[in-house]
């Protein structure tokens, strides 16, 4: 079977100015959930709205279930209601003048290819409300529900007619953090149970990791990397991806040599470091090495990349401890889990496992956050 969603070279420009979406291509196979992750204003919502047909792309092609639904070059633009999609909005967008039941029954009532009888509507609505855990709320006016419950109504409304593709635009971002975590796990369970194909937009990486079969990281309208969460987290293709997903330590240096995906970087006074790199660096390039605070091992001397440094500050946070460590003229933050802070200020051994050090060309860009 062909991909449930195929996006080829999508471009969207608003009025004048630079493109909000700039040549994005990816696909979502049936049954898979793809998450678009990126900072505010990177074009996630615009991409999603182009897929929904709520926004008219400037260029490229979008196909849903093998049917081209948007292709400006050929003048193809299928209206949202004929795309067989479901959409969950950030603001819930449940209709406040209807009850829970009326909200969920609405699509069944007004869809063009409406083949189901009214008894059928009844049972589908009930089944879907049970699925999202709102079985007992059917007759309530939606305005009497909490935010989390409203979002479940919105989810039920977009699932009830089993669309080919479900689009979700930061559906959890209006909820408080506890509820967000609960609903996030539940959302994955529901989506997997129904076997729904999904495109999910968020700027929250923990949401992306839990929900996505694959994650696409976007920046300034471009898709930087599209890969399973493990790969995004362990093999970021780009220093922005590394930084955005939490590799907050950056060591600056010069490339000494490169063998395949292995590079040796000179960090000056600190010495040299072995790192993995996805980029064709050559000797003499300026480079930056990104690594996550949790991947540095304190008090250990490993076979490679081991240094002697000094703990300058220790911040105990209960469940974890953060150490500021200096070695040579470099500075890193190290995070250790556990309720005990094991190291004291002063001299210490540290190991930066080469697999978790990622070297990129230093193009002089500032990091996010």
């Amino acid at each position: 079977m062909s991909a449930a969603l195929l996006i080829e070279d999508l471009v969207k420009k608003f009025g004048t100015g630079k493109a909000a979406v700039d040549g994005v291509s990816f696909d979502v196979p049936a049954g898979e959930i793809v998450v678009l992750l990126g900072p505010s204003g990177c074009g996630k919502t615009t991409t999603l709205r182009c897929v929904a047909g709520l926004e008219h792309p400037t260029g490229g092609r979008i196909s849903i279930g093998g049917r081209v639904v948007s292709e400006p070059e050929r003048g193809v633009l299928v209206s949202p209601r004929e795309r067989d999609i479901g959409m969950v909005f950030q603001s819930y967008a449940v209709w406040p003048h209807m009850t829970v039941h009326q909200n969920v029954a609405y699509p069944l009532k007004y869809r063009r290819k409406n083949t189901s009888g009214s008894g059928d509507i009844e049972s589908k609505v009930r089944e879907t409300l049970e699925l999202v855990g709102l079985g007992e709320y059917a007759q309530r006016p939606v305005t009497s529900l909490s935010g989390g419950q409203m979002q479940r109504v919105a989810l039920a409304r977009s699932l009830v007619y089993r669309p080919q593709l479900l689009l979700l635009d930061e559906p959890l971002s209006n909820l408080d953090s506890k509820l967000r975590i609960r609903l996030r796990d539940e959302l994955r369970r529901i989506l997997k149970m129904t076997g729904m194909t999904g495109l999910y937009v968020t700027h929250d990486q923990s949401e992306a990791v839990v929900l996505g079969d694959r994650i696409g990281v976007m920046k300034d309208g471009k898709l930087l990397q599209m890969a399973p969460p493990g790969e995004i987290y362990n093999r970021p293709a780009d220093s922005f991806v590394a930084n955005f997903t939490g590799a907050s330590n950056v060591l600056k240096g010069k490339v000494l040599e490169r063998k395949g995906e292995q590079a040796i970087i000179d960090l000056g006074a600190a010495g040299r470091i072995e790192a993995w790199t996805p980029q064709p660096l050559v000797a003499g390039d300026k480079a930056r090495v990104a690594l996550r605070a949790e991947n540095i091992r304190l008090g250990e001397r490993g076979p490679a990349n081991s240094f002697t440094g000094r703990v300058t500050e220790r911040r105990y946070q209960g469940m974890q401890t953060i150490y500021d460590v200096e070695f040579g003229d470099q500075k890193v933050e190290v995070l250790e889990l556990g309720t005990a802070a094991r190291h004291n200020d002063g001299e210490i051994a540290l190991t930066l496992p080469p697999d978790t050090c990622w070297a990129y060309r230093d193009d002089g860009q500032a990091t996010v956050d």
Partner: protein, 587 residues
């Protein structure tokens, strides 16, 4: 407002000297007396008039034979019922049309990519400023069954259809077209504040644009539609000029024209007029109350919390269709009537032998203008109008400032009563204010009747709610702390008002006063009963010309009035634009 403002107000602190302690009650008392004089006394006289059968002119002041039988007899009268029924049909029909036009316009302006939206939105407000009688006159020139310009045009084109605006349907059409902006104002802002994803969710669910409009959009803005239609109904109900111009020739009386007819009979039936006026006021009050209820109710459209980008539908080539709809509307309410007035005012005779005669320049002249200015009453009426406008603006502005300050900025006992009294006039149509002032003063020898003061005070009473409201908004923008800072510096209350409030609120005060001036200049309903030949005003004189039957003079004077109003409105907009800027600076 709050307990802190009470504590901070010097006049109410315990330590204040005796004079200060008495200042607040005296002040409140004075305001209450003024409001009672302006609002309550005339209303009481109206009630007495309605339930008595003594004529104040003949029997003198204060002679009542109160009995409900008279009032009940009036309500049972067949003509009254007919006028009541006509009013409901005309205003009801007009409201339905206004809702259709207003909704279509707000959708076009807020939700589509129709070209020149900003211009359309601005221009569609013009009908609000056209005096009803001028609109009525213009449409009688266009649509009178025999000589109407539209019918002349149809005849040339060989089309067998004839318009008749001297009819109930004519009345409904003109009402609906001219009062659609009231509906538009409410629905446009409701649409603008509505989360667009509510509509997008419906489209994604598979509903057509049409279904979405009727199952999501309109139900969500239903409170705004209802509030706008109730308001336009109330306004139409109180209008005299349009039914006077279009209904009278076909013998269609509505409540307003019937009330005036009663006082124009000889002998005038003042008691009956008062009784019908009370009927009109009661209906108005019910609708105003209903509208306030709707407005204070919870609005669905603002449930979503996030700020959003307004949705704009790409209509493709259809946007030129919506554009032409908007242009057609402007053509009907502004361009066509203006052309009609200009032709009628400058042509010696409103008769066209064929189409070319329209462009026969020899048939045009200033003769009608010369003849209206030969009439000494014309200049008298213009002069009187300006005087009345000025008095209304100054007295009304000062009073509204005093009331607004007391209601919004102090916590003195009795301010709730002041608020209530100053709000009552929203439920009183202008014409009823006129009848009430007539009853209040006509029997009093040496009183206000026959002076321009009675007109000015009636206008002040009629417009006090709007003026207080608009001034209160400009008070709200001035932080309480600015005033408190002055008190802390040792300034007294009056000096604080003079040095802080007045300068900061000045743009708002000027805007309110100029608006008051414009409203007074175009007011007809309440003037009808209060003018004498020495104190006639423009609006009344225009009615005289119209009823005198000379179309040329009527049109010429309509134009004169329109030009004067246009200039005044221009000045107002200019002044309030300055005020908006300086408020922004101050706030």
């Amino acid at each position: 407002m709050t307990a802190t403002s009470a504590a901070a107000l010097p006049a109410t602190t315990d330590a204040a000297p005796a004079a200060r302690r008495w200042a607040a009650p005296l002040w409140v008392g004075a305001l209450l007396i003024i409001l009672a004089f302006l609002v309550i006394y005339p209303l009481l006289m109206l009630f007495f008039g309605a339930i008595s059968d003594s004529n104040p002119v003949i029997d003198g002041f204060g002679k009542f034979n109160p009995s409900l039988t008279h009032f009940i007899a009036v309500l049972g009268n067949e003509n009254v019922r007919l006028a009541f029924f006509n009013a409901l049909v005309a205003c009801g029909g007009g409201t339905i049309l206004a809702v259709v036009i207003g909704l279509a316009f707000s959708w076009i302006v807020v939700r589509t990519n129709t070209p020149f939206k900003g211009f359309i939105a601005g221009a569609s407000m013009i009908p609000l400023f056209v005096p009803p009688l001028v609109a009525g006159v213009a449409w009688s020139i266009l649509g009178s069954p025999k000589t109407g310009l539209l019918n002349t045009a149809l005849k040339w084109m060989g089309i067998d259809f004839r318009f008749d605006f001297y009819s109930m349907s004519g009345l409904i059409l003109v009402f609906g077209f001219y009062y659609a902006p009231y509906v538009y104002m409410f629905t446009a802002s409701a649409l603008r504040n509505m989360d667009p994803s509510l509509e997008e969710a419906s489209e994604v669910s598979g509903a057509s644009a049409f279904t979405t409009l009727f199952t999501v959009t309109f139900p969500l803005i239903a409170p705004a539609i209802l509030a706008g239609s109730l308001l336009s109904f109330v306004v139409m109900l109180g209008i005299y000029g349009i039914p006077a111009a279009l209904g009278a020739p076909a013998n269609i009386s509505v409540l307003t024209t019937y009330i005036f007819k009663l006082t124009a009979w000889s002998p005038p039936l003042y008691n009956t007029a008062a009784a019908v006026a009370i009927l009109l006021m009661a209906v108005t009050a019910i609708f105003v109350w209903a509208q306030q209820r709707v407005l204070s109710g919870r609005s669905f459209a603002t449930v979503a919390g996030k700020a959003f980008r307004p949705r704009s539908l790409n209509l493709g080539p259809w946007r030129w269709f919506t554009f032409s709809l908007a242009i057609a509307y402007l053509f009907i309410v502004v361009v066509l009537p203006t052309i009609a007035l200009v032709i009628a005012a400058f042509r010696r005779f409103l008769f066209f032998k064929d189409f070319d005669a329209v462009f026969d320049m020899k048939a045009y002249s200033w003769v009608h203008f010369n003849s209206i200015f030969d009439n000494p009453l014309t200049m008298v009426s213009i002069w009187n109008t300006m005087k009345v406008g000025l008095i209304t603006a100054v007295v009304g502005g000062v009073l509204a400032f005093a009331i607004g300050y007391t209601i919004n900025r102090t916590n003195v006992a009795g301010r709730k009563s002041i608020d209530l009294l100053s709000t009552i006039p929203v439920a009183i149509p202008g014409l009823v204010v006129g009848v009430a002032y007539l009853w209040a003063w006509i029997g009093l020898p040496g009183g206000l009747y026959g002076t321009i003061w009675i007109l000015a005070l009636a206008f002040v009473a009629r417009f006090i709610p709007d003026t207080v409201k608009s001034l209160s908004t400009s008070f709200m923008q001035i932080h309480k702390e600015l005033e408190e800072a002055a008190w802390i510096c040792g300034r007294g209350l009056l000096s604080t008002i003079a040095t802080i409030m007045v300068p900061l609120a000045r743009p708002g005060i000027i805007a309110s006063m100029t608006l008051l001036f414009v409203l007074a200049v175009r007011e007809l309903g309440s003037s009808l009963f209060l003018y004498t030949s020495d104190t006639t005003v423009m609006a009344v004189l225009l009615l005289d010309y119209y009823e005198g039957g000379n179309v040329g003079k009527t049109a010429a004077f309509s134009l004169v009035q329109t030009v004067i109003l246009g200039v005044l409105l221009g000045i107002t907009t200019w002044l309030s634009r300055g005020s908006a800027e300086s408020t922004a600076r101050a706030g």
